[in-house]
Amino acid sequence: MENNNKKSSAFYSYCLNPQVKFDTNEEGEKVSLLVRSHPFTQINWVLTSVLLFILIWIINPFIKNFFDLKQIFVLNLFFYVFVASYIWINVLNWYFNAGIVTNRRVIDIDFYSVIYKEITVAQLGKIEDITVKSGGFFGSYFDYGSVFIQTAGSAVNVEFINVPHPSKIAQIINRLLGKKHGYQ
């Protein structure tokens, strides 16, 4: 696989051969791919944050009648802190919800609401089927979609949701599977 370390696209959500480590990293295990949700899929909370910032400017003239200047200052302070925290928690959710493909396995790291952690691992040898789902106007335009990796038996399946270049990801996993099974 070509080493295009510097090539990370879509705001660091699709990185080939990244310099990352994870807590169950094994000796000699090489990370081939790191993926996160496509930045476009984060547009909801970005727009909400912008609207909340605008909202405070709209609300301020109305609350002047109910609160004194000191109280308005405190309320504004709270509001800005609240919006900043909202942005930050969403950034953390995006940053730490990652999918990793190594030369031995596929790992899906999920953090729900930052408080709950779930790490799903599928050994390359146990992967049976890879499904790529991409669609919709924005999905087609920005080239993002979901990759579902099914494993043998009752093992948990791995899902990369709304990731950039889903077909390329499937291609990379297939190539690694080929190497693993000795087809390439």
Binding site: K70, V74, S85, I119
Partner: protein, 82 residues
């Protein structure tokens, strides 16, 4: 404190202002604990996924804890002393 003096003090400050004080102080305390929990969780996540921008994430999280503490202090000063 004498009960009549207590009620006259409440009357001077005003019920609305007392509720405002309580609400803001409680919010600031909750926010401080929330920032601490997030900080702890980010450290756990930092171990789960070690990427090149983790230093920035850790820095901003520490900054958030500092801000929450400053906010609490500012509130106490604003409400009780200024």
């Amino acid at each position: 404190m004498d009960i009549s003096k207590f009620f006259s003090t409440i009357g001077e400050i005003g019920i609305k202002n007392i509720f405002f004080m309580l609400f803001t102080i409680l919010f600031a305390i909750f926010y401080f604990f929330y920032a601490l929990v997030i900080s702890k969780q980010v450290r756990v996540m930092d171990k789960a996924l070690q990427d090149k921008y983790n230093w920035l994430i850790l820095f901003i999280t520490s900054f958030q804890v500092t801000v929450s503490l400053i906010l609490l202090i500012i509130l106490i000063l604003t409400i009780f002393f200024i």
